[in-house]
Amino acid sequence: MQTLAAGRPSVAGAARGKSLRVLPGFKLTLAFTLFYLSIIVLIPLSGLFAKTLTLDWQQFVSAVSSPRVMASYRLTFGASLIAALINTVFGLVIAWVLVRYDFFGKKLIDALVDLPFALPTAVAGISLTALLASNGWIGSVLEPYGIALAFNPNGVVIALTFIGLPFVVRTVQPVLEDCEQELEEAAMCLGATPWQSFAHVIFPTIAPALLTGFAMAFARGVGEYGSVIFIAGNMPMVSEITPLIIIGKLEQYDYAGATAVASVLLVASFAMLFVINALQTWQRQRLGASS
C-alpha cells in the first residue's frame, strides 16, 4: 500500500512510511516460505541448469539427440499424449456420470477416482503388470487374440492412463457441478436437443477445465517412472522411457549425459507448467465473466 498522497500535510507525529498490517505473521511466514522454497526447490533446480551450462555444446547435443534417446522421447511424449487423450474422453464421461446421475455405489466410485493419486507408483506398476502379463487376469484373456498389453509400448500407455485419470475427473467435476441448471432448462425451452444443449451450452463452459486436466495428465505422464518401468519392457529403441535413460546414464557415471537429458525433461516440465497456468487463468476468466 502506498503512503502519503502527494502534497498532503501530515498533521500529528504518527508513524508514516509503513502501512499497518492488521493480521500478524506476514514477515515471518513469507520469509520462511521463500527460504524453504529456495533451499528445497529453487537452488537444487538451478544447480541442474548450472551444470547443463558447463557442458560443451557438442556433448550436449549428442547426448540429447542420440537415436536411442530420440526413440525414448517418441515413446515418453507419444504415450503420454495418447494416455492423456484417453483420459480426457473417459474422464469427462466419469465426471459427467458422477455429477449428474445417482446410482448405487456412487460415493465409492467417487472416492476411488483418487486412487491413482494416493497409490505408490511402484505398487501401481507391479499390479498392472500382474494384470496384463500373459498369465494375468486380463492378459490371459487377450493373449489368444494376439494382443499383448505388457512389456511393450501398449503397457506404457495403459500405465500412464491409470496415473492420469484423477487429473481430468477432478478438474472437470467442480466446473460441471457449478454449471447452472437454469442454462440447460433455458436451452430446452428454446427447443435445443440434448446434444445441442451439450455442445453449445455445457461444453464451452467446461472446455478450459477439460484442457487443463488434459495438460496436467500429459505433464504427469511425461515424468512418470515407477508405474511404467515394470510394465514397459524397457527395451532400448522400443519400449524405453526417457527417465529410465537418465537413470541408465547415472549408473554409468555419465553425469553430463544424464544432466543433458534431464534438462530436456525439465524444460518440458516448465513449458507444461506455464501452459497449465495460462489455461487456469483462462478458466477463471471464463467463469468470472459468466457468473
Partner: protein, 296 residues
C-alpha cells in the same frame, strides 16, 4: 489436485434420453472397473497367493522390516517439514496482498510437474561425489547421497506442494473477516491462528497431511536415484518392492505392497470423511430459515 469439497446439487429434469444415460453409465463404470478396481484387487490377490502364512512371513523378513522402518523414518522427517511450510505459505498467500503472489503460487507448484527421476538427479548433482558440494562433504565424512539425508531431501522435494495445495484455495475462500474480528477483540497472532484459523481448516489440513504422507511413503523414482539401493540400509518399501519383484519373489513384493495400498485406501477414506463433513455443514446452513428473529 484440489481438495476443495464440492457443493451438493439437486438435479431435476434430464435433457438426455434414457439410453444415452445408460450408455454413459456403463462406459464409466466399465472404465472404472478395469482401470481402478482390477489393479486394486490384484494387489491383494497376488499377495495372498501363498496363503496367510506366505503373507506374514514375507512381511516379517528382516529386510522387509528395515525397509518399513526406513520408510517411516523418512516420512516422519519429510512430512512435518512440508506441513510447516504448507501452513506458512498458505497463511502468507491467503491472508495478505503483496506483489509476486501468483508467481510464488506457481513456484510452489513446480515440484508437481517435475519428473521424480529429475528430482533425484538434482540432488545427486548437488551432493553426490562429483557434485557441487561433493568434495566438501567427503572431506567432512558426511554422506547425503546414498544415505538417509539424501532420501529425505528427495522425498521432501517431491511432496513439497501437497499440504499447501490443499490449504490455499480453502483459506482464500474463507477470507480474513474472522481473523480481523479476532484481532480487534484483542487476540494475539498465535491465538488467532490456533483458535480461529486452524479449526476452520482442520479437515483440509488433515487430508493434506495424510496425502503428503502417502506420497512420501510411496515415493519411488526420486528415492531410487539417490538411494543406491543398498539393501537393509537405504531401501524404502517401494524400492524393496522393486527388488523383490525383479528377483521373481512376486508374492513377497505384493505382500509389502498391500501395506502401502492400505495406506492409500485410508487416505481416500479420510478425504471422503472430510468432504462429507463439509457438505453436511453446508446443508445445515442452507436449510435454516434465514431471517426471522424469534424475539424482537
Amino acid at each position: 489436485m484440489s481438495g476443495q469439497a464440492r457443493h451438493p446439487t439437486k438435479r431435476a429434469a434430464r435433457a438426455e434420453p434414457a439410453w444415452v444415460r445408460w450408455a454413459l453409465l456403463t462406459l464409466a463404470l466399465a472404465f472404472v472397473f478395469l482401470f481402478l478396481f482390477f489393479p486394486l484387487a490384484a494387489v491383494f490377490v497376488e499377495a495372498f497367493r501363498k496363503g496367510l502364512d506366505g503373507y506374514v512371513s514375507a512381511l516379517a523378513e528382516p529386510e522387509a522390516l528395515s525397509a518399513i522402518g526406513l520408510t517411516l523414518l523418512v516420512a516422519v522427517i519429510a512430512v512435518p517439514c512440508n506441513v510447516v511450510f504448507g501452513v506458512s505459505a498458505a497463511w502468507a498467500i491467503a491472508k495478505f496482498e503483496f506483489p509476486g503472489k501468483s508467481a510464488l503460487t506457481t513456484l510452489i507448484d513446480l515440484p508437481f510437474s517435475v519428473s521424480p527421476v529429475v528430482a533425484g538427479l538434482v540432488y545427486v548433482l548437488m551432493f553426490g561425489a562429483h557434485g557441487w558440494f561433493g568434495p566438501w562433504l567427503m572431506a567432512h565424512d558426511i554422506k547425503i547421497i546414498f544415505a538417509l539425508p539424501g532420501m529425505v531431501l528427495a522425498t521432501t522435494f517431491v511432496t513439497f506442494p501437497f499440504v499447501a495445495r490443499e490449504l490455499l484455495p480453502l483459506m482464500q475462500s474463507q477470507g480474513t473477516d474472522e481473523e480481523q474480528a479476532s484481532i480487534v477483540l484483542g487476540a494475539t497472532g498465535w491465538q488467532t491462528f490456533w483458535y480461529v484459523t486452524l479449526p476452520n481448516i482442520r479437515w483440509a489440513l488433515i487430508y493434506g497431511v495424510i496425502l503428503c504422507n502417502a506420497r512420501a511413503m510411496g515415493e519411488f523414482g526420486a528415492v531410487s536415484v539417490v538411494s543406491g539401493h543398498i539393501r537393509g540400509q537405504t531401501n524404502t518399501m517401494p524400492l524393496h518392492i522393486e527388488i523383490l519383484y525383479n528377483e521373481y519373489q512376486s508374492v513377497a513384493a505384493f505382500a509389502v505392497a498391500t501395506l502401502l495400498t492400505l495406506l492409500a485406501l485410508v487416505t481416500l477414506v479420510i478425504k471422503s470423511l472430510a468432504e462429507w463433513k463439509f457438505e453436511r455443514q453446508l446443508r445445515i446452513a442452507q436449510s435454516l430459515s434465514p431471517e426471522r428473529p424469534v424475539s424482537p
